[in-house]
């Protein structure tokens, strides 16, 4: 009996030792190639895509040599051309002595030409792939995404870090940068079949400018908004960032007055009728008077002055909203203010019935804007 038990014990131990020797899926960290950014472009040859991986070279990034690493290259960009995303990835493997690791990927940049063709067939890999973070930012490149990765800004370790930090740190402070679009938001829009905008990045000499936005109808890039239009759009999509509005000549004041937005909130309600939808937007903005051109103006704290400025800014915002709505309806024929999603949320049945002609209905929609501006402070001088 005792011997049998010992035997059973032995067999169990050996089995366990053989089966569970460490982790089956282990890849040592030094064998991993951390991909920081992914670029997708249309390749020269027909029907193919060019995928760029920006690999981190950690030894150069954090190695000896004081601030920010050594002189050498901190990243390595590998591009491969293939008919599908996954095959492009496999092709990169043939030229890489590491296991690509997508867990720390910060940005996905999509080239203009590819975006114009439509994203449906290329985005699927990123939703299916387990390692990709759903909060990875998506950007549109003016020109080729591949070229952007060659730019190495001095303040960051990699192009990908640089771009994701611009979004993370500065998007809320500048209302000319388009709202953050990550993979989660993107997939929601694509699944729903609604229109949206994605921030555009354009190459500079030593830096990359995040300016303007690409307009998508369903999954196709159909045009761009300039930074001013992005600002106007952000009124309507309830993502009011800090920024300034300039108004001129009010209350007997010479030259311009700069109003600085500190916070704001937009509430859009759709009025759904049988065959049409109208939108009511209520925008509340708070801010300060930041700059007066007329240094000698006597009394900025007076009731009349403040009210006059408030009314003027309200008109200005209202005008901007109407302008951008008109542009969306007439030039783009795309409802990139999340209006489609909004209508769908309010009345799912109606939307499902009218989905096919939704953009036509949107074209005829009226937008009524109510703006309420409060000037809380005027700065330190009267």
């Amino acid at each position: 009996m005792k011997i049998r038990r010992k035997k059973a014990y032995l067999v169990t131990m050996v089995t366990v030792l053989i089966l569970f020797t460490g982790c089956w899926d282990r890849v040592e960290i030094e064998n991993r190639g951390f991909v920081l950014g992914i670029g997708l472009d249309k390749a020269e040859s027909e029907g193919k895509i060019a995928m760029t991986y920006q690999f981190a070279l950690p030894s150069a990034m954090f190695g000896a040599g004081g601030n920010g690493g050594g002189d050498g290259e901190k990243v390595w960009n590998v591009t491969s051309t293939s008919p599908s995303v996954i095959r492009a990835e496999k092709q990169i493997l043939t030229r890489m002595n590491r296991v690509p690791d997508l867990q720390h990927t910060q940005v996905l940049i999509i080239g203009e030409a590819l975006a114009e063709e439509g994203l449906y067939e290329y985005i699927d890999f990123f939703l299916r792939e387990i390692n990709i973070r759903r909060r990875m930012d998506v950007l549109i490149a003016e020109g080729k995404a591949e070229d952007l990765f060659d730019i190495a800004p001095l303040t960051a370790n990699s192009t990908a870090d640089y771009l994701s930090e611009i979004i993370m740190l500065n998007e809320k402070d500048v209302h000319r940068i388009s709202s953050e679009v990550d993979l989660l938001k993107m997939s929601k829009n694509l699944r729903r079949g609604t229109d949206f905008i994605v921030a555009k990045v354009a190459p500079g000499k030593k830096d990359i400018e995040m300016t303007g936005a690409g307009v998508f109808r369903k999954d196709q890039l159909i045009g761009y908004l300039d930074p001013e239009e992005v600002r106007k759009t952000k009124w309507l999509i309830d993502d009011i960032s800090q920024g300034t509005i300039v108004v001129e000549d009010i209350g007997g004041i010479q030259g311009h007055i700069v109003f600085e937005i500190s916070e704001g909130k937009t509430r859009v309600t759709p009025q759904i009728h049988d065959e049409s939808v109208d939108f009511d937007a209520v925008i509340r903005v708070e801010g300060d008077v930041a700059e007066l051109e007329d240094l000698d103006f006597p009394d900025t704290t007076s009731e009349e002055f403040i009210t006059a400025v408030e009314r003027k800014i309200e008109q200005e915002i209202k005008k901007e909203c109407e302008e951008i709505m008109k542009k969306a309806q007439e030039e783009f024929e795309a409802e990139f203010f999340n209006f489609g999603a909004l209508v769908k949320n309010y009345d799912r049945r109606w939307f499902e019935k009218h989905e096919a002609e939704w953009r036509k209905i949107f074209k005829k929609s009226r937008l009524s804007v109510k703006v309420n501006v409060d000037i809380r402070r005027v700065g330190l001088v009267d």
Binding site: W24, D25, R134, R135, L184, S187, K188, R191, Y346, D347
Partner: protein, 368 residues
């Protein structure tokens, strides 16, 4: 089996019921619920929970009539030897098939999320060995494990849900009022089977410290699951929207993936969740494994169920590997769930009916 040594405390019964319910399904539930019914599925889920509570009441009433025996014993009194054997066989088929299919779903999810290169055979086998090891010692250790793991499991689920609030969009629920009764009626069977697990009360009622509180404990257990399920589905819909949720195979794990911490530390939150989800699956399979083993013991008329817990290892291993691909796994899951659903719906009612007619002096128990 008289009342001897340690019996199950009230807390243990509650955690047993809730652990048996919350298991592998929680990771896939939000998609199942909204896939065909949209937002109506959320209503269907709550209704399904209430129906499960009603069934729990029936089970508790039945258990209350026979405080000293479990269904495998009093079934013989009520149904006669032949029908009771049929009933036990059905339970046995259900429990073994369920244990097998849960192992498979679990292994598939683990392979997709954590261990990409590990063969599922190994994942299944390692889970199975641990399950068998715990199940051989009977219901008491299982209950203690459930009692210990349950707060951790519920805690991890709610941490994921709370952190997901950052992406939550209440607007996704604006058209919740557009009720479509046919959609709700269609989804109810599917939601009811997602609550399966409370049937274990039929098998453990005799081992509890206070059998008269079985109804209360069962209802609390189902109630906890109802709240957890509803919260999980509501959060998933709010984060993903119905349109995108339809495409997620493992919405709860995906939900954990969308959580972002400021400063980008803890980037793969899904791994954290998956670890506790493994515990949830473990507590579920071990209960059904044990129930399967005692059913088989009763069927062949033996007393000691221990040999059968070992015997089950190869059987369940084979069952879990029977479906070849994901579509077959789903098909198999549906069959097993409907078998379980019908057993849970029919057997307590049947037995109760027989018990009542007999008590009123009729001796027509054989005609059922």
């Amino acid at each position: 089996m008289g009342r001897n040594k340690d019996l199950l405390s009230n807390v243990q019964v509650v955690s047993l019921v809730a652990s048996a319910i919350i298991g592998v399904t929680i990771s896939t539930l939000p998609r199942t619920v909204v896939e065909d019914a949209g937002l109506n599925g959320v209503i269907g889920l709550v209704v399904g929970g209430v129906i499960s509570m009603l069934l729990t009441v029936l089970i508790a009433m039945l258990a209350g009539k026979f405080p000293d025996a479990v269904i495998l014993e009093y079934g013989r009194n009520l149904l006669g030897p032949i029908f009771s054997k049929v009933m036990i066989t059905l339970w046995l088929v259900y429990f073994t098939a369920l244990t097998g299919v849960v192992h498979r779903i679990f292994a598939d999810a683990i392979k997709a999320f954590l261990l990409e290169n590990t063969p599922i055979e190994i994942i299944i086998l390692s889970m199975l060995v641990v399950t068998a090891y715990l199940a051989q010692n009977g219901i008491n250790p299982i209950a203690r494990i459930c009692e210990a793991f349950f707060p951790v499991i519920i805690g991890s689920i709610f941490i994921v849900l709370l952190l997901s609030l950052q992406n939550f969009n209440i607007k996704e629920f604006y058209s919740l009022g557009q009720i479509n009764v046919t959609d709700i009626l269609k989804i109810i069977p599917i939601t009811v089977i997602s609550y399966l697990g409370f049937e274990l009360l039929l098998f453990v009622s005799a081992f509890t410290i206070e059998p008269q509180k079985i109804m209360r404990n069962g209802l609390i257990g189902v109630g906890i699951s109802l709240v957890t399920y509803t919260a999980a589905v509501v959060l998933s819909v709010g984060v993903f929207s119905v349109d995108s949720l339809k495409y997620q195979i493992y919405p709860m794990l995906e939900l954990a993936k969308t959580i972002a911490f400021p400063g980008a530390f803890a980037e793969r939150f899904d791994v954290f969740f998956a670890i506790f989800w493994i515990l949830a699956v473990f507590t579920t399979v071990v209960i059904f494994y044990y129930l399967g083993a005692i059913s088989l013991t009763k069927l062949v008329g033996l007393k000691n169920y221990r040999p059968f817990t070992y015997l089950f290892v190869p059987v369940i291993y084979v069952i879990s590997l029977l479906p070849q691909e994901v579509a077959q796994v789903n098909q198999f899951t549906t069959w097993v769930s409907y078998l379980g659903g019908s057993l849970v719906a029919v057997i307590p009612v049947l037995l109760l009916a027989v018990a009542f007619t007999r008590k009123k002096g009729g001796s027509k128990s054989e005609d059922t």
